[in-house]
Subunit: 452 residues, 2 copies
């Protein structure tokens, strides 16, 4: 066994032991630790900002020599106005959320004196791998503690100094509380990640937060369940009866509000009978905002009459319908009124189910039945009717916080709140009850569902 491998096992075992102790703490115990965390980070602001300034200095040089993107540099800087205070406030916001642990979601009296309960509990050990933003460590530590999970954190190399400083403060603060110190461990070296990803008997869930490449790397290199999404290829289907005002508002917002986000629009499907009515209005607004439209032949032809800024009207190629542009580019495809897949809405659904990343899709129509068909038939975490895909977000959904957005088909889907970091266990309380009495017919089941 290599040194890296054995230290990965040690880290995972420490986390596992801490997780068992964490699982027995009360909400007050966990909240007290979050208060201590907040206070310690407030007190140590100067030390942490100094460490962060060292990271920023090195990153600035790397950015100037072209080895680092300016957006990473920007995300790295904790001294930007409001950023540190937001981080502190975020910890208190998580603390003040409802306790996700200990909620009874099923209560059945199996027989006299034999009571079954299903109760929410922490998952156990989380491995969280993230890139530049150093404030994420505080956010994730808060989420893990609130949900009673132990966390192993691996940050990006650009923010090493910041992470070490924040991590020291977190460890110091936690050690004065009921929460075991091993609940939050920071991993510095990159080469340990593969060994950690192999600890599927000790680590229960991996959460990669960062680029699509990071998520794909993690998904391809572990047997541990991964919560997250590699792609966000969101689509809109513009039905023939779309309200023009609704269509323009929803599609323009979905594409232009923040094109780099995973919940922004990448593909627009247009019913052929909307090509010469609603579509040109939408296209004009999009192009006025600088959006380049990659259109199939019919959609392009429909825009011939209107003046289009140079270069913003292009021919689509097949790969455009599989591309997450993350930029002011939109692929446009015409949907025939009827075809091999059936009606237009069925063809739109078939296109989406084949091409989409199962993140969020929207239909623009005035007909409830058509909208219902679409929302039932599209296999995505979010199915929207006349509303922007940009609403697919934990804060906007009212979850108070967001662990990430999941495009998985099991456990948790869409924006993930604290609930996504919990599972349940079954508690059964009896008084010497034996199963043999029921199979022999000496006793019969009551199976009485009790109010929660």
């Amino acid at each position: 066994m290599s040194l890296t491998e054995s230290s990965a096992i040690d880290i995972a075992k420490t986390a596992s032991l801490a997780s068992r102790r964490l699982a027995t703490l009360t909400n007050t115990d966990r909240n007290d630790a979050l208060t201590a965390l907040h206070d310690a980070l407030a007190e140590n602001r100067d030390v942490i900002l100094e460490a962060n300034a060292r990271d920023v200095e090195i990153a600035t040089q790397a950015a100037e020599s072209g080895d680092l993107s300016h957006s990473i540099l920007k995300r790295l800087d904790l001294s930007r106005a409001g950023k540190y205070d937001d981080m502190l406030q975020g910890i208190l916001s998580v603390r003040d959320l409802a306790d996700p642990i200990g909620n009874v979601t099923l209560k059945t009296l199996l027989d006299d004196g034999l009571l079954l309960e299903r109760v929410s509990c922490p998952i156990g050990v989380l491995l969280i791998i993230f890139e530049a933003r150093p404030e994420v460590i505080a956010n994730i530590a808060a989420l893990a503690i609130k949900s009673g999970n132990a966390a192993i954190l691996k940050g990006g190399k650009e923010s090493t100094e910041s992470f070490v400083a924040i991590s020291k403060v977190i460890s110091g603060a936690i050690s004065e509380t009921q929460v075991p110190e091993g609940s939050v461990q920071l991993v510095k070296t990159r080469d340990i990640v593969s060994s950690l990803l192999a600890q599927d008997s000790l680590i229960d869930l991996v959460i990669p937060r960062g680029s699509n490449d990071l998520v794909r790397f993690v998904k391809n290199n572990t047997r541990i369940p991964v919560l997250g999404h590699a792609d966000g290829l969101c689509s809109a289907y513009l039905h023939l009866d779309a309200n023009p005002d609704v269509a323009v508002k929803v599609i323009v917002d979905a594409k232009t509000d923040y094109p780099a986000a995973c919940n922004s629009l990448e593909t627009l499907l247009v019913h052929e009978d909307a090509l010469n009515s609603v579509f040109p209005l939408v296209a004009k607004e999009l192009m006025d905002k600088g959006v380049c439209l990659r259109c199939d032949v019919r959609a392009k032809a429909a825009l011939e009459g209107i003046s289009t800024p140079a270069g913003l009207l292009q021919d689509a190629v097949d790969s455009d319908y599989r591309t997450e542009f993350l930029d002011l580019i939109l692929a446009v495809k015409t949907i025939p009124a009827t075809g091999p897949a059936g009606s237009a809405v069925e063809a739109a659904m078939a296109h989406i189910n084949l091409h989409s990343s199962k993140h969020t899709e929207v239909i623009i129509t005035e007909t409830k039945d058509i909208a219902d068909t679409f929302m039932n038939g599209v296999d995505s975490a979010g199915v929207f009717w006349n509303a922007s895909t940009r609403f697919a977000d934990g804060m906007r959904y009212g979850f108070g916080t967001e662990v990430g957005i999941s495009t998985n088909k099991i456990h948790t889907r869409g924006p993930v709140g604290l609930d996504g970091l919990t599972i349940y266990k079954y508690r059964l309380r009896g008084n010497g009850h034996r199963a043999c009495d029921y199979s022999q017919g000496d006793r019969t089941w009551k199976h009485e569902s009790l109010p929660l």
Copy 2:
């Protein structure tokens, strides 16, 4: 691409397409298909039993020549009294369960006219791999249709003739209903399994039903999430204040009611102060039922005074505490009142969390606080107090049916009912709502939780 690989992709694509259609059907549509399934299997009883008789004949020869176990032979035989009728009745029972699809579990008014709902929906495509029992095909087909999932079924080679006959009847029956025929596909050749396990973009969940070896093989050979359990290493902790009557009833039932079951007891942990009080009573009853006790030194010494049948009192070795005996054998270990792990209950929890398969564990005590500590701290799907581990079962929990028992830490845990075959999606209904209006402060969130 090999022929096997391309046919695996075809099968998975067919299932995926069928699943999208299935997801749009009503409960009545799905129930009608189950009624048709039931009626067709009732009408074709003779044909199916003839096919099954051919399987049984070959298997009987194999059993006589020692190439097949008699228990497999027994499980294979559909003509045994009541078995066929139970299979038929099982389909109707599943049909009559509450619809697991379309349940709204969250309803939030994000803003005027902008309504968010979380609604249960099918997962998509299930791959179910099982061994001998041919009636499982009907059971699984019923569960899949009821929950709106498409299923790809692979049965054991001993029951090929039965599967083909049942499968033909199922396909015929379904083709007369709204449920698409591709919803249930039977796979006959063994070499296609590996190729199917590679279709992680089309298949959403694998459910292996059979031996521990089968489950382990599946878990080690796919990126698709696997629902199930390889092991059931259940433990009991006998606290010093255990009620002797409760202790005897619970432990004897847990060990002897059906030793081959995954929810039967394999390890008994005894508080040192119970060694000479309650433990001998329990041990005597167990040995009277033929249970061999593999004891550590102290537990064995505690039984010296009582008469023990020859061979039933043995010395434990370390591996006994990691062994799922599935037989009339029980590993016994003494827990000191205090030790490095803390109190006795803490030491018992530490042993269990290190050795157990996270299936079901029980504590025998008269003290509620001790029981609560145990039930919070033990990381298993079932944590029982003074009740037999044998209650860990979907029918006994009142779920009406059981898909299997999961020892996973995410999605679904313990006995899995129809709910375990569902996930949810978020539906958002608006009227031209844009996200930019909220970030610019033109509109503010309502986030009003509405009654369900």
